[in-house]
Each structure stands twice: as structure tokens, then as C-alpha cells.
């Protein structure tokens, strides 16, 4: 294939971005025994070309940990086929040239969106990021209500937690076609809002900070709930959504958005 068998991965396994060095241009024949290849690689400092590719992140729980609300079968398909498919598609696209190398996934999404004129890599990159975010937005034993500062912020921006829940569910059910529903912290308005987006779009693209997301593509719920979207959304709100992760994200967001600032009107 072109990869030297002794290629050392300098990055730890948990890292998302992996870089490998293609030595195939050096080796005159693939018939060279492994030992000689190793020596050739170690002796040769200059790599002819560097390829970057991203690794697939696992959800932070076992694939059957969300049963009975999201079946293992769904996780196997959704993560193992769809999410992995987007990632492998992205890596294949990136193999063509190194123009888009060196970005974190979040940066790559924004760059490939190209302010509304997306590159072909956008769909794959955005969906990889969206799904990473989605798995982390859920947890076994999720649901219930947030506490402390996040609850206070929700009550301030929506009136009550029940009101927020209704708004979120309504957005999910009124989404036309494939898309996502988000609880997002708006950077400029300095408040939480519920936002729905189509296909692979996410609030990252207008620089807002997502806190929670729900995948409303049909593949996310069809195996478990068929056409009954309402049941799926209810189950997500009551049993899956990870308010712990949401609190973490809010805490991090407050490094970028000063929520404590009073809203002083400009004279």
C-alpha cells in the first residue's frame, strides 16, 4: 500500500489528529524485506510527503450503556457506520492535498464552511464534529434537570426549565428534513437559546457556543422508534441528555463570554 511497516506514530493514541509519513516514494521495490525497509526509514531523514488523518473518537460509554432508550444496535450503526463513514470519507478527501492540514476538527469545520460556500470536505468534517459533540451530550442515567449556575442561567433566559424543555422539544418536532437541535450560548447576546439547524450545519459556524445537541436525522432514531419522533425526543430529554457535560461546557464557555456583565444600555 505504501506505508512503511515500521512507521512510528509520535502521537499518543488518544489524540484525535494523527500524522504518518509516507515512505513509499523511497522504497524502490515493495519486495524489500521488512528489516531492510526499517533501516531505510531510520536512515532517511527527509520524508517525501506527509499525510494527516483524523482518528475516530469513541462515545464516552459502552455502546449498550444507553439501553433501553437508545439501543446498542443504533449505536453500532450510528457510530460504527455513519460516524465512522463521515470520518473515513474526510480522511480520503484530505489525502488528496495538504492544503487543509494542521487544524483541529472545530477549526476545520469553520474553514471548510468557507463563509457559506462550503468545500466538499465540509459535510464530512462538520458531521464528524457534530457526532462527537452528540455522543458527549448524552450519558447513561441522564435526563432530570441541571443544577447550580446552569439551571439559574436557563431560568433567566427561558423563564423556567419546563419552558426551555417545551421550546427544545417543539424545535425538534418542527424541524423539516434532516438536522440538529441545539441549546446554544449566544456570544453577542450573552444568553442561552434553542436553535435548529439543517443537515450538517452547527452553531459553530456563526461563532456561538453549543451546550447540548440532539440529532434529528432519521438514522438517529429510526431503528428504535421508527417514525415516532416525539417518543425519541421525550426519551432524550428525560433519560439521555447529560447535564453534567452541559455544565462543563458552560463553565468553559464562560472563559469566552462574560455572563456576569450587567446589560448596560449604550447611551
Amino acid at each position: 500500500m505504501g506505508w512503511s511497516a515500521s512507521c512510528i506514530n509520535p502521537f499518543p493514541a488518544s489524540s484525535h489528529l494523527l500524522v504518518a509519513i509516507n515512505m513509499s516514494k523511497h522504497l524502490k521495490s515493495s519486495q524489500i524485506p521488512l528489516r531492510k525497509q526499517k533501516r531505510a526509514w531510520l536512515g532517511n531523514e527527509k520524508a517525501r510527503c506527509v499525510l494527516a488523518y483524523y482518528g475516530l473518537q469513541k462515545p464516552p460509554y459502552e455502546l449498550d450503556a444507553l439501553e433501553p432508550y437508545m439501543s446498542r444496535k443504533t449505536l453500532e450503526m450510528h457510530w460504527g457506520k455513519h460516524h465512522r463513514g463521515y470520518l473515513e470519507g474526510l480522511n480520503k478527501q484530505l489525502a488528496k492535498s495538504d492544503v487543509l492540514y494542521g487544524y483541529t476538527m472545530e477549526e476545520l469545520v469553520k474553514v471548510t464552511y468557507n463563509s457559506g460556500n462550503p468545500f466538499p470536505e465540509f459535510n464530512n468534517a462538520a458531521q464528524v464534529w457534530n457526532h462527537d459533540f452528540f455522543w458527549e451530550s448524552m450519558q447513561p442515567g441522564g435526563g432530570n434537570e441541571p443544577i447550580l449556575g446552569l439551571l439559574q442561567q436557563i431560568e433567566m433566559d427561558f423563564g423556567s426549565f419546563t419552558n426551555f424543555k417545551e421550546k427544545f422539544i417543539e424545535a425538534a418536532l418542527s424541524l423539516l428534513g434532516s438536522g440538529w437541535v441545539w441549546l446554544v450560548l449566544k456570544r453577542n447576546e450573552k444568553r442561552l437559546e434553542v436553535v435548529k439547524t439543517s443537515n450538517a450545519i452547527s452553531p459553530l459556524l456563526w461563532d456561538d457556543i453549543p451546550i447540548i445537541s440532539l440529532d434529528m436525522w432519521e438514522h438517529a432514531y429510526y431503528l428504535d422508534y421508527k417514525n415516532e419522533k416525539g417518543k425519541y425526543v421525550d426519551v432524550f430529554m428525560n433519560h439521555l441528555v447529560s447535564w453534567n457535560m452541559a455544565m462543563l461546557r458552560m463553565a468553559r464557555a464562560q472563559s469566552f463570554v462574560n455572563l456576569a456583565e450587567p446589560k448596560i444600555p449604550v447611551a
Partner: protein, 226 residues
């Protein structure tokens, strides 16, 4: 006298299950011209039943609701509401239009499903695309490339009298892409194939041609291009 009026009204609607009572339009679910299991193994009976009884019915229900609300808003002259309802009408009405065509596009094998087109459509396909296989390949490629939900169509341009392959997003009907008449449409929403083919949309696209009703497509084509 009232009965005769009702009977006349029933003939309207272009086969879309349209009924007009007291001036208010309502649409109803058209029956499938075959059993749910008749398209197996290309499309499973479970999918056909869900697709017809749940998805299509939901589009119709929501379409009727939207039309009712539109009626009320227009009567009041409530322009913002009229405009706001447009997306619901396009989505649900489009869903009804598209699926009504879709059911007619499919036929069980024993009723001619999968049989290649003869007559003028067959020869036009050979002229425009080279061969039927080439057309199928192109349509499948376009269908597989649709991001998110949508449809892939074989249509005929009313003015140029040419065959075209087009894709539409979500439930947009083919007419939104120009003065095109749909001959064949393939639903590439995930609900159309997920239970059977999971994420392998290309397999669904390959197999659906085995139950494609070219007779219907030829009829429509010959009407447009006599």
C-alpha cells in the same frame, strides 16, 4: 341534486385524493395499487407499510392543517401568517405530491416492475444517455450524493422536451427546479430504506430499479412529448 354536486367535486383533484366540502380543500391518502409486501425483496413490506400509513399520512394531515390555517389567514388578510405558512405548505404539500407519484413509480415484478421502457421513452433514453444502464448509474450516483434528505428525479423539460436528472432537497417537488414533469422519482430520505438497507443507500438505489414501473413513466412521457 346535492349528491350530483358531490359526485362532480369528487372527479377533481388529479388523482391526489382531493375533496372539496364547503369550499375547504382536504386531501386524503391514496390507496397503493399493490400490497405492502408485493415489492419484496427490493423494498420490504414493513417499510412500505410505515412509509405509506405513517409518513405519507402525516404529510397529508399536516398539509390539510396548513391549508386550513392558510384559508383562515387569507380570509383575515393576515399577510405575515400567510407567508409564515409557506414552508409548512411546501414541505407537507410537497411530501404529498412526491409520495403520490412515488407509489405509481413502483410496481410488483409480476405486474411489469423492472421491465425496461419500450417505445419513445426507451429510444430517447438511449439517445440522451447512451443506454438504460448509463441512466441508472447516473441517477444512482446523484441519489447517493444527496446530503441529508431529498429525492432524485428523472424528468422531462416541458419546453426543451429533453430528459433531465435532478435532485431536490427535503420534500421540494420537481416543479421547483423549473418547468419539469416528473417521470420517475426515488425517495432517498432515510425512512425510505433504513430498516432494510441501514446506511447503505447505494444498495437501495441498485435494487429499487427491479420494481421500477417504466410503464407509468412512458405514459407520462408520451403525453408530454407525443
Amino acid at each position: 341534486m346535492a349528491l350530483r354536486t358531490l359526485a362532480t367535486r369528487r372527479r377533481l383533484g388529479l388523482g391526489l385524493g382531493f375533496q372539496s366540502i364547503r369550499g375547504l380543500q382536504t386531501f386524503s391518502l391514496p390507496d397503493l395499487p399493490y400490497d405492502y409486501g408485493a415489492l419484496e425483496p427490493a423494498i420490504s413490506g414493513e417499510i412500505m407499510q410505515l412509509h405509506h400509513q405513517k409518513h405519507h399520512q402525516t404529510y397529508i394531515t399536516n398539509y390539510n392543517k396548513a391549508l386550513e390555517q392558510l384559508d383562515a389567514a387569507m380570509a383575515k388578510g393576515d399577510a405575515p401568517t400567510v407567508v409564515k405558512l409557506q414552508s409548512a405548505i411546501k414541505f407537507n404539500g410537497g411530501g404529498h405530491v412526491n409520495h403520490s407519484i412515488f407509489w405509481k413509480n413502483l410496481a410488483p415484478v409480476r405486474e411489469g416492475g423492472g421491465e425496461p421502457p419500450k417505445g419513445s421513452l426507451g429510444s430517447t433514453i438511449d439517445t440522451n444517455f447512451g443506454s438504460l444502464e448509463a441512466l441508472i448509474q447516473k441517477m444512482n450516483a446523484e441519489g447517493a450524493a444527496v446530503q441529508g434528505s431529498g429525492w432524485v428525479w428523472l424528468g422531462v423539460d416541458k419546453e426543451l422536451k429533453k430528459l433531465v436528472i435532478e435532485t431536490t432537497a427535503n420534500q421540494d417537488p420537481l416543479v421547483t427546479k423549473g418547468s419539469l414533469v416528473p417521470l420517475l422519482g426515488i425517495d432517498v430520505w432515510e425512512h425510505a430504506y433504513y430498516l432494510q438497507y441501514k446506511n447503505v443507500r447505494p444498495d437501495y438505489l441498485k435494487n429499487i430499479w427491479k420494481v421500477m414501473n417504466w410503464k407509468y413513466a412512458s405514459e407520462v412521457y408520451e403525453k408530454e412529448c407525443p
